[in-house]
């Protein structure tokens, strides 16, 4: 017994020594102090090529980004390689932990706060040559702690998508396109038949939040410094949605056997849906026979409102060649590049100077861009994604739930984040 114990001790000892050795390696190979804060000089080790990590929606996007990056690479003489992430969050996290992150990458509003607060990101926004061209609401989506972190890549807004055949079959004309909540309720009712429901939406904040915005509310104030989740406006927005649900003229996509609003709409399980620009791709690929039109969402008691979604081009604080990365991002957010992206795979340019050309190139989708004037972003404080997913969980039972109670719990959770 004695012998066995001592062997165990040796084993344990070896393990601990091993662990310490590894940990010593770990801290030894690091770059010591924090190199995170921008404001100083950008690194510019031009011997290093750039790695670009994207979360692609499909082949069209991959090819388009590849072409744009290759063009820049040729022009600038810096090597650049685009990789498509299968799980962007995980691959980014691994890169940051190993201090060998991709130099340039897609970054969502959800993930911004987490990476910004731990110093993984370079706050380069103020150094962009085209900084003032971005829509201000997009800039505020990527501003954390007063610093503009990264250049908005593109954006989408939610609008009302209408099946024109079902619309005409119900005897409705262009003049009937709803502009107020009452009108929306009326046309939804007209369009509801035993075969399909008038309006189908995803049962989550990222769709129902549009009603809250129309009522003049939002989960947090513009710079995400104050929680306003249980405001009277938000309650009014949700209660309106609740009325549509209980009247049977609106359904959650999941209730009618679809994964999301676009699927319900494409399968003609609903005559209308509320979705963003991405629906155009799905309609073209999966439901080419369904004719549809895009209209602006009806105005609520406080005027028009919608939600916008955006991603940015993040640059890693640990990138050895930040100067080249910044140059690449300026190129990728330029008017030409963004218009090319738009025609290749559909997003809207994040810069105001491209708006007119985009509108003339996409006359049927103008409503999406019109939303840029009044759209609200989603909260970007650290931990907000958890609060929103908790809200989503509760919204699933909105039909029978209490809007005020749902928003009260969200308010409590958001306030906890700000402490």
């Amino acid at each position: 017994m004695q012998r066995r114990n001592s062997r165990w001790l040796i084993g344990a000892g070896l393990t601990v020594v091993g662990a310490l050795t590894l940990s010593a390696c770990g801290s030894g190979s690091g770059f010591g102090g924090d190199t995170a804060d921008a404001g100083g000089e950008l690194t510019s080790d031009s011997s290093q090529g750039l790695n670009i990590l994207i979360g692609s929606s499909g082949d069209a996007e991959t090819a388009s980004v590849n072409a744009a990056v290759a063009a820049w690479s040729e022009e600038s003489g810096t090597d650049a390689k685009v990789s498509v992430a299968s799980d962007l969050n995980q691959q980014l996290a691994q890169g940051f932990a190993a201090q060998k992150p991709a130099d340039v990458f897609y970054l969502s509003t959800d993930a911004l706060a987490g990476y910004a607060s731990n110093g993984s990101l370079l706050a380069y926004g103020d150094e962009l040559a085209n900084k003032d061209d971005f829509y201000p609401s997009l800039v505020s989506s990527f501003t954390y702690d007063g610093e503009f972190y990264c250049a908005p890549k593109d954006f989408s807004t939610l609008q009302l998508i209408i099946n024109t055949d079902l619309w005409a079959a119900a005897g409705l004309t262009d003049a009937d396109i709803p502009t107020t909540w009452d009108e929306l309720a009326t046309v939804s009712k007209t369009l509801t038949t035993p075969e399909h429901v008038g309006l189908a939406v995803g049962g989550e904040y990222a769709r129902l939040g549009a009603f809250m915005a129309e009522a003049g509310g939002s989960l947090m104030n513009e710079d995400s410094t104050e929680a306003t989740a249980n405001s009277a406006e938000n309650v009014a927005g949700l209660e309106y949605a609740q009325t549509l649900l209980t009247d049977g003229v609106m359904s959650y996509a999941s209730e009618i056997g679809a994964g999301w609003g676009g699927e319900a709409f494409g399968k003609q399980l609903s005559a209308m849906t509320i979705e963003g620009n991405w629906i155009t791709g799905a309609m073209k690929n999966d439901f080419p026979d369904v004719n549809y039109a895009v209209a602006e969402l009806p105005a609520g008691p406080e005027g028009k409102g919608t939600l916008q979604f955006t991603n940015c081009w993040g640059i890693a604080a640990d990138s050895p060649n930040q100067a080249a990365a910044l140059d690449l991002v300026e190129q990728l957010t330029s008017k030409d590049a963004q218009l090319t992206f738009s025609s290749d795979f559909g997003p809207m340019p994040s810069i105001q100077s491209a708006a007119e050309e985009w509108k003339s190139a996409n006359p049927t989708l103008v409503a999406f861009l019109a939303g840029a004037d009044y759209a609200k972003g989603v909260p970007n404080v650290q931990g907000a994604a958890d609060v929103v997913s908790d809200l989503n969980a509760q919204l699933e039972s909105l039909k029978t739930g209490d809007a005020q109670a749902i928003l009260d719990s969200t308010q409590k959770n958001l306030e906890a984040l700000l402490k």
Partner: protein, 364 residues
Amino acid sequence: MSTSAQTSRRSGIRGGEAASGWLFTAPMIILLGMFLVIPVLMALWVSFSDWNGRGSPFSSSVAFVGFDNYSALVGGGGLAEQDFGTALRNNAWYVILVVPIQTMLSLFLAVLVNRQILRGRGFFRTAFYFPSVTSSVAITVLWLFLFSASGAVNKLLAFIGVNGPNWFNDPSGVLHNILGVFGVETGPAALTGNTFLGISFWEWLAGPSVAMSAFILMAVFTTSGTFMLLFIAALQNLSGDVVEAAMMDGANGWQRFWRVTLPQLRPTLFTVLTLGLIGAWQVFDQIYTGTQGGPGKTTLTPAYLSYQAAFTNQAWGQGAAIAFILFVIIVVFTLFQRFLLAERKVSARRMRLYVQTPRNGGSK
């Protein structure tokens, strides 16, 4: 190494054996240490630190924060505690249902295909084992199709006149639904008013959600085959003598199974229950590919929550803390069932059964 030298001096001729023993086991020790022990120790450190995912967790900027990460989970009062409570609730129901059902089913299947007279035994063994060798991702996708609102399962239910639920989108708890049939919609104030880990006792008693039930069925479907194989191996190891002796004593088939076969399977039963418990507490792939915690967080499990905390929220310490709490839970459960299955002296009550025998046969 000086220790081994000492040992060799002490025990003479056998001394070299220790050195070669170490030598032969060294590759495995190094591999296990490198890829198992050291990462686990590193994770343990992370769970006590404020590491935020950038750079090495051992760099000088990372501080020791004691039990902060743990206390946020078990007593923070915030969303983290509530999520953790929800995840534990979901997974506890999953374990409570999956482990007994899969053990019983696999034993039942094993006994069936072990019978000598069954025709095409090989076919059935392969068929029952098949789900186990299929990737869990593939089966999850299959399950999503089968259990969709208008999927095959609901079509089948409609055939017998049952209006099937919208499986993977139904967050309502099964027990709550059953109570609802009897008109109980809300629980007594004693249950709804008091909370444990951020969710009320009434919610703890909700039972698995309908969505989770579909996962429970899937787990039973996929793992029973593996455990059936273990039981078959054990059954084939049993000597026929004991069963024959029992037959001679007049035991019927039912008695032979419960009183003779099953007690002999105790070691295998322990293995199956242990593996089942571990597997069920660590459920992750199905959630990751299937529902990502939805609907209404009712398929959130601690393993998935740990992943989410670390990789999407950059709360690495909290993610690691969840993993270690899960580890403790699994160890406690395993010890508990080991205690239950331990060989004990026959209890006095049981003994009476056997004591009576000589009295009956006393005329001999």
